[in-house]
């Protein structure tokens, strides 16, 4: 039987904020099978963002183990983590995090540049990803020329273009209106259902979490199955 997509044991993370030690994660255990759509909920400051950063290999835990597709991530070098972020993980952020003054197409191409994909293929794949998100007419638009929903769809296209197995969405609907929010969530559902993408959706809105198959709750640095 294949290893779970994500396997986390007793993960702990503390950081200092204004000189005060804050224990953000106090022993998280989490197993996510490939192809799951999991929502992680919790009030702000509960540690859910810290968890997402560690899941996305943007940050490393103080202790505990994290296996991604059976591979121990905690012992990896900075370059290896960069490679994982580049090939295995796609990010969708609340604030979109598009590169300013850079066209939608170039934004989407960025991860392919670091993957060493040649110019023509890069172009082609980025265009396809944007077309799939319904942005075929806006390839050359700059982020500030796009609406919030369009920007988030560019961000999703960018997350998908490198064909990752795991998509991490941190409050993806936090900065858009209700209609757009529904649009984005249905896109994520489609990706999970049709492409078998493992998706972890971090949110504090129960309405959003309802789209997930399984919902987990972070409270005081611990993960619970019930609210």
């Amino acid at each position: 039987m294949a290893a779970p997509h994500i396997e986390i044991r007793d993960l702990r993370k503390a950081y200092a904020l204004d000189g005060v030690e804050i224990e953000a994660l106090r022993g998280i255990d989490l197993t996510v099978e490939a192809g799951e759509l999991v929502a992680i909920m919790g009030p702000s400051g509960s540690g859910k963002s810290t968890l997402m950063h560690i899941l996305g290999c943007l940050d490393v835990a103080d202790s505990g183990s994290y296996r991604l597709r059976g591979e121990d991530v905690t012992r990896m070098s900075g370059d290896a983590l960069a490679r994982l972020r580049n090939r295995e993980i796609g990010f969708v952020f609340q604030s979109f995090n598009l590169l300013p003054r850079t066209s939608a197409l170039e934004n989407v191409e960025t991860s392919l540049i670091y993957a060493g994909v040649g110019k023509n293929e890069r172009h082609e794949r980025a265009r396809e990803a944007l077309e799939r998100m319904g942005l075929g007419e806006r390839l050359q638009h700059l982020p500030n020329q796009l609406s919030g929903g369009q920007q988030q769809r560019v961000a999703i296209a960018r997350a998908l273009v490198s064909r990752p197995s795991l998509l991490l969405a941190d409050e993806p609907t936090g900065n858009v209106d209700t209609v757009t929010s529904a649009e984005i969530l249905s896109v994520l559902e489609t990706l999970n259902r049709d492409d078998g993408l493992t998706i972890i959706l971090i949110t504090h809105e129960p309405d959003v979490a309802r789209h997930a198959v399984r919902t987990l709750y972070v409270r005081d640095g611990r993960l619970e199955a019930h609210p």
Partner: protein
């Protein structure tokens, strides 16, 4: 990440801040341009000095009678009496020696009818004018026979001719040098002042023997001017002459020379050396501005790293390795310094040409200075770009992403 992709990223980032990039490059432009222009001016001066020295004759030597010690009292140069015409003749026999001109000098009051003029009389041989490359304006040089016979003939320098004769032609006239009547056989062309300011045309020239016997009553000579086959030969001849004269004067091993040799080539070497130092000095002062330009690059790159912290975070989230970020910023610094270097080269060459055209300064653009300034600009880019680039590459992805 491929080189072309990295380069495209760097160029695009710079293009987004065109004005800032240009102003930053301006520091390097000015630096490179001033190095090139300054070194060109220095090298031009160096070359002019070399030319002037060459025209003065770097292949000439002067032997003067030296000082002598009498009971502990050392007299000044030119006070010994053991340099002779025979010495001059012996020197003429040395290899590499082209022409030899022995001379003595005496002060003289010259009279012509009502006019009189105080000047110096040089006792010389016909070779003297060849050694000094000093042509006649009119008449002719006295003959070797007249030298042998202490003939009462003389040549006038332009100043003397003007003072005594005005616009009249002095050739064929008789003057009184002291109480010695001499017939004027020729007039020399104008030679001008020496480098140290004495009027070379304020002289009368008579056969050396005439001055020795009839004016001064001596049988020694005071100087021997000679030319050699070239600059290198001058150094060789200088040694040969020393050996020859010590032998002829029967100086013991430990005794000092009783003559002195002045080598123009040596003087030339010193002057050229100082001109070279001058060029280096100009070049190094100018390179300070290149350094300042480099600091400008570092400054702007640091600002840029701070401004683009979030961008760095996004790139890292998308899979940029620390070294990709390092290269991106280093490449931007390199492009700035490279473009600055290239434009600076053009401005420097243009500036040097403008100086050459509109001022009297000689200018000599050396390919080496251009190359060195350009390479130095490149080094400046790497050196001053490295710190900001490392700073960028060492950001933690999460801190960079969170940066507001």
């Amino acid at each position: 990440m491929s080189w072309t992709a990295a380069m495209a990223l760097a160029l695009r980032a710079l293009w987004r801040n065109k004005t800032r990039a240009m102003l930053t490059a301006l520091g390097v432009i000015i630096g490179v341009a001033s190095v090139i222009a300054m070194v060109a001016i220095g090298a031009g001066a160096q070359q002019r000095i070399a030319q002037q020295l060459e025209s003065m004759g770097t292949n000439s030597l002067v032997v003067r009678s030296g000082s002598v010690t009498h009971g502990g009292v050392r007299t000044g140069a030119g006070t010994t009496t053991n340099l002779t015409l025979a010495d001059a003749a012996a020197i003429a026999g040395l290899p590499d020696v082209v022409a030899v001109a022995p001379s003595v000098q005496a002060p003289a009051q010259v009279r012509y009818r009502g006019a009189n003029w105080g000047t110096a009389i040089q006792g010389v041989t016909p070779e003297y004018f060849r050694v000094r490359s000093w042509p006649l304006a009119g008449g002719e040089i006295f003959t070797p026979a007249q030298v042998a016979g202490s003939g009462q003939v003389c040549l006038l320098g332009q100043t003397v001719a003007r003072e005594l004769f005005g616009l009249l032609d002095p050739i064929g006239e008789n003057v009184l040098i002291g109480s010695l009547p001499c017939r004027i056989v020729g007039v020399l062309t104008e030679k001008g002042a020496t480098a140290w300011g004495s009027d070379q045309d304020d002289s009368i020239f008579a056969p050396i023997t005439t001055v020795q016997r009839k004016l001064r009553g001596i049988n020694y000579i005071e100087r021997i001017e000679l030319t050699t086959t070239g600059r290198e030969a001058s150094f060789r001849s200088s040694k040969d002459i020393t050996k020859l004269l010590r032998q002829r004067h029967q100086l013991r091993e430990e005794a000092d020379d009783d003559f002195r040799i002045y080598n123009r080539a040596e003087l030339a070497q010193t002057s050229e050396e100082s001109a070279r130092v001058f060029t280096w000095l100009l070049g190094s002062i100018a390179s300070v501005s290149l350094l300042v330009g480099g600091i400008g690059i570092m400054n702007i790159m640091l600002v840029s790293v701070t401004e683009r912290t979030r961008e760095i975070g996004i790139r890292m989230a998308l899979g940029a390795r620390p070294r990709d970020i390092l290269w991106q910023f280093l490449l931007e610094a390199r492009v700035l310094s490279g473009v600055g270097g290239l434009l600076g080269m053009l401005v420097g060459l243009g500036g040097a040409m403008a100086v050459a055209r509109f001022s009297q300064l000689p200018v000599e653009v050396t390919p080496a200075s251009v190359l060195i300034a350009f390479l130095f600009a490149g080094l400046v880019g790497v050196f001053f770009g490295l710190h900001p680039a490392r700073k960028a590459s060492r950001l933690s992805p999460i801190d960079a992403l969170r940066y507001e």
